[in-house]
């Protein structure tokens, strides 16, 4: 197929954004529908990509290469493997769901909001498709600006503090990453004597596989990249921006933050930091594993005491993402697949939870757990859905959340049993904070606060159901047939482990 399908997926949202820019802001409904249509087209294209992708094919598929700044060997180079295909589809899926979920809540400056959201999608898909380090960096930074605006303009009361914190944290990491990327390219340039391929990921990976990056250089470059990605994941102790950003962002912003933006960090570690600097990755594996376990347990414990629904889910993300980094750094095929499953699942489950909390917020303008109570009687459909996502998040077998965490346990048990024991302990904590929260919100007598709202407490609308249902269906499907995802990961897992220097197994 000669169709540049990756470029189409990356830039179709931009076309939609430009079209919306030309529409008059006095027609918010037209703008909303155009944005949704654009994101659905992008989604459709990504499904085509998924269908056309060959699971058995080696290396990167649908490659597109063009010279961009030949003086420095910077290319416009896109390509996908099984991992990036999954993440691209996750992104496009969550984007249209988020846009649909923004129809009612976003009432001011709809035009700017939708443009921001579509540009955000360009950046996110671009990050997953870029195979040139420079291009990757550009897409990476492109994600920052729309999210800054989305939190800062359409967010909650404390939005300005939250958005500045988000930007500054991310920027410190990403600018150091830029230095590391340039230094990597320069090291390649001095070794080969030409800038050709100095930013090309495949060239650099071959260069790294030959052991051409010195150990000292690897340590510095890895640390810079690791910092950038660890802030994004976010790993303990770089997570403090997350609860603020999640809490203050509008619902759809939280969905994308949790569903995709956090994954950018994990993806960066898997795709770039480890394969390019394997020696350093091994040197730092233990401290990172320890930090991951701390994040898993710490996130869970802090979640228990959160008084705010969104904040609770935000901290649970810290815990869940700890499983991802743990799965990556124990360097085993099982744990790797578990980590990726966890990435996809967390995107769907936490995305769904944020959507559901957003619905309650729309009706009550409050998220305080203590003021809720008895929602099961008032909003039966909503409560059913909420309970379903909570069980999925707690890792109930049969739903997708379980499989990912289970695989990470197995992989890390082989590596060092105590890690798995500690992490499994956190699952008990997860059940505690999730079920206790559900109990306080869903069960018991209807609280005075909820009762006082009277007729405002209507159950889910059809639009809201349309945002939740696909996610719920996928959670069941992937819970029963995790092979649907795992099939994509066999190849990338082998390549990853080979690049990380742990045999070709």
């Amino acid at each position: 197929m000669n169709l540049p399908i990756l470029s189409l997926i990356v830039f179709s949202p931009l076309v939609g954004a430009l079209a919306i820019a030309a529409l008059p802001s006095s027609h918010p409904n037209l703008i909303r529908r155009t944005a949704l249509a654009t994101s659905l087209v992008t989604w459709g294209l990504s499904l085509l990509l998924l269908a056309a992708f060959s699971v058995d094919g080696a290396g990167f598929q649908f490659g597109e290469t063009a010279d961009w700044i030949p003086d420095f060997g910077i290319q416009y180079k896109l390509g996908v493997d099984g991992l990036s295909v999954l993440l691209i589809v996750l992104t496009t899926t969550l984007t249209w769901i988020s846009i649909l979920a923004s129809f009612d809540p976003i009432k001011t400056r709809v035009k700017e909001y939708m443009i921001s959201f579509l540009i955000l999608e360009v950046g996110m898909v671009g990050v997953f498709a870029a195979l040139d380090l420079f291009l990757f960096y550009i897409f990476w930074e492109l994600v920052l600006v729309p999210m800054y605006l989305i939190i800062g303009i359409w967010g909650g009361a404390n939005r300005i503090y939250a958005t500045m914190k988000f930007v500054l944290y991310t920027l410190v990491g990403s600018l150091l990453m830029l230095v590391a990327i340039l230094a990597t390219a320069w090291t390649h340039q001095t070794a080969t004597g030409s800038w050709a391929g100095a930013f090309d990921f495949e060239t650099l990976q071959a260069f790294a596989a030959a052991g051409s990056f010195g150990r000292d250089f690897q340590i510095l470059a890895f640390l810079a990249l690791f910092l950038a990605f660890a802030i994004k994941v976010p790993m303990f102790p770089f997570h403090t921006w997350l609860p603020d950003a999640h809490t203050e962002a509008p619902t759809a912003g939280s969905v994308i933050l949790a569903g995709v933006l956090l994954k950018l960090g994990a993806y960066g570690l898997i795709r770039f930091a480890i394969p390019l600097y394997p020696e350093a990755a091994h040197a730092f594996a233990w401290p990172i594993i320890v930090l991951s376990v701390v994040a898993i347990i710490y996130g869970a414990i802090v979640s228990i005491v959160q008084p705010d629904l969104k904040r609770l889910i935000a901290y649970s993300s810290v815990s869940h993402m700890g499983f991802v980094t743990l799965g990556i750094f124990v360097f085993s095929a099982t744990a790797y697949q578990g980590a990726i499953l966890q990435i996809v699942n967390h995107g769907m489950i936490t995305g769904g939870l944020f959507l559901l909390v957003g619905m309650v917020y729309e009706r009550t303008h409050d998220r305080t757990i203590a003021r809720m109570g008895g929602l099961g009687a008032v909003l039966p459909l909503w409560s059913t859905a909420f309970g379903f996502f909570i069980l999925a998040s707690a890792g109930l077998p049969g739903l997708s959340g379980f499989v990912g965490e289970f695989l990470v346990f197995v992989g890390s048990f082989v590596y060092a049993p105590w890690i798995a024991v500690a992490a499994i302990g956190a699952m008990v904590l997860a059940a505690t904070y999730l079920l206790w929260m559900f109990q306080r919100v869903g069960f018991g007598p209807v609280s005075d606060f909820i009762a006082g709202l009277g007729d405002h407490m209507t159950d889910m609308t059809r639009t809201e159901l349309a945002t939740i249902a696909p996610l719920a269906a996928l959670i069941v499907v992937f819970g029963l047939f995790p092979g649907l995802i795992l099939d994509f990961l066999g190849g990338p897992a082998r390549v990853f482990l080979a690049a990380a220097g742990v045999g070709g197994g």
Binding site: I138, L144, I153, V172
Partner: protein, 486 residues
């Protein structure tokens, strides 16, 4: 002097004639803005033609005191752009305040004539004279709003510290001349190659170097020689600030290129430590103090100090052995011209009504009051922050590539520069916060700016958007840098 000498300094002569023409027009039609404006723009057009005619030529004039090469043409073109943008942006600001357009344009053209003389100067004395020609009109411009005490205060500070630094610079030149026995740049360089071969630098030369560096650092507004900058920038009429933040700064770096690089290149290892410290202190101080500012003009003044620091990183990379640092400097200065003048232009647009302050509160809700102006300001600020794919990002990236290539201390500077850029995001984005995330203090849309102003603003925006990915620009910068590398 012969005709070919005259041909080489044709742009300078044309600029002086254009300034004179503006004054003559003002005598014929006193106080009328439009004729003066037309004369100034036509004059700039004529200067542009002479610069274009020189493109590609490599010649020396006046017994080697003045050189025309790709670097000269490049810098001339940059000065020309600065002058044209300043004149386009000034009208809307000067008119409501009753400040005369003709005098403004004439003084600016005189300053540009001096700047163009720097860009080709190959003689120490000529460099000094050219520098003075460039900065003296700058003092007048800074105090252009005669009845405004802040303008006068800024001008006095600028004038006193400026003259002081010029004297120091001249003093340093005297030492260099005394040690090397010549005022011609290439003769100085030849003499210094011998000095470098002995491996020992004479105390007199070290002293001269120190004085020259200090003098140039004053004009660049590098810390700790920056004290005039905030007051001069804040006090000056906003279009003048726009000019001061780029024109004299480019001039100062032109001196650095012509003098430090071309003449003192052979002993560059000796000034590397000085540059490293200067760059590190300049960007860090500039950024930290900028964070605390509530006045946008003053904030941009400190930001311009920080940007001087980033450019100095490029110079440090050159001193550390990487010639790429030089073209990174040229690229940075060009990109900075567009984005910084653009930012000041938006400030000027807000201040169209006399009495409107440049306090950050003025920007509250700008995104709603004037969506275009808000969006452009956001663009310039994001570019100054260094967000890809805007001009400011490429500028920083190229400087950092050079610094990493140089390794050692310059590479450490690259890391420091990036940490600084992250800190700088705070104060740039703070303005965006006010524009988009705060309610406007005064309702109602702003009066639409004039046609010329819009043209100038549009040009800065296009420059900021397209500069980084415009290959022709890269080639021009590369050729200009090649002159120095040889």
């Amino acid at each position: 002097m012969n005709w070919s000498d005259l041909g080489c300094i044709a742009p300078v002569v044309a600029a002086v004639l254009a300034a004179a023409a503006v004054l003559v027009v003002d005598m014929v039609a006193p106080g009328r803005r439009r004729p003066a404006l037309i004369a100034a723009l036509a004059g700039l057009g004529a200067v542009a033609l002479t610069v274009l005619a020189l493109a590609g030529h490599v010649e020396t004039a006046f017994d080697g005191a003045y050189k025309v090469d790709d670097l000269t043409v490049f810098l001339d073109a940059l000065f020309l752009i600065v002058a044209a943008l300043t004149i386009l942006l000034a009208g809307d600001y000067l008119e409501p305040r009753g400040l005369p357009m003709a005098e403004f344009a004439a003084i600016l053209l005189f300053a540009i004539a001096g700047a163009m003389l720097i860009s080709g100067a190959a003689d120490l004395l000529l460099l000094f004279v050219a520098l003075e020609l460039m900065v003296l009109p700058g003092y007048v411009l800074a105090g252009f709003a005669r009845r405004d005490p802040y303008s006068t205060e800024g001008a006095i500070k600028y004038f006193l510290l400026g003259s002081f630094s010029s004297a120091i610079f001249l003093f340093g030149l005297a030492y260099v001349w005394g040690i090397t026995g010549s005022t011609r740049v290439d003769a100085v360089a030849a003499a210094l190659i011998e000095v470098a071969a002995t491996g020992k630098i004479a105390p007199g030369l070290a002293l001269g170097l120190a004085f020259v560096t200090t003098g140039v650092a004053f004009k660049m507004a590098a810390v700790p020689f920056h004290y005039w900058t905030p007051d001069a920038y804040q006090g000056s009429p906003t279009p003048v600030t726009a000019y001061l933040s780029v024109g004299p700064k480019i001039g100062a770096f032109a001196i650095a290129l012509r003098l430090l690089v071309a003449a003192l290149g052979p002993v560059k290892e000796d000034w590397l430590p000085v540059l490293v410290v200067l760059a590190a202190v300049t960007m860090t101080m500039g950024n930290l103090v900028a964070i605390a500012q509530d006045n946008v003009k003053r904030m941009l003044a400190y930001s311009s100090i920080a940007h001087t620091g980033y450019v100095l990183v490029g110079l440090a990379a050159y001193a550390g052995g990487r010639d790429d640092g030089l073209w990174a400097i040229l690229f940075y200065l060009s990109a900075y011209t567009f984005m910084n003048m653009g930012a000041f232009a938006v400030v000027a647009a807000l201040q169209r009504r006399p009495g409107v302050s440049s306090n950050i509160a003025t920007f509250a809700g700008l995104g709603r009051r004037d969506p275009w102006l808000g969006a452009l300001m956001a663009l310039f600020l994001l570019s100054l922050t260094g967000i890809p794919p805007l001009a400011g990002f490429w500028a920083k990236a190229y400087v950092i590539v050079a610094a990493i290539e140089a390794g050692g201390w310059p590479a450490a500077l690259a890391v420091l520069a990036m940490l600084n850029a992250a800190a700088a995001a705070f104060y740039y984005l703070r303005v965006v916060v006010y524009m988009y995330m705060r309610e406007p203090a005064a309702e109602g849309r702003l009066a639409a700016p004039g046609l010329l102003f819009r043209a100038g603003l549009g040009a800065t925006a296009i420059g900021t958007l397209a500069f980084g990915i415009f290959p022709a620009v890269l080639t021009a910068v590369g050729n200009a840098a090649l002159v120095l590398i040889g």
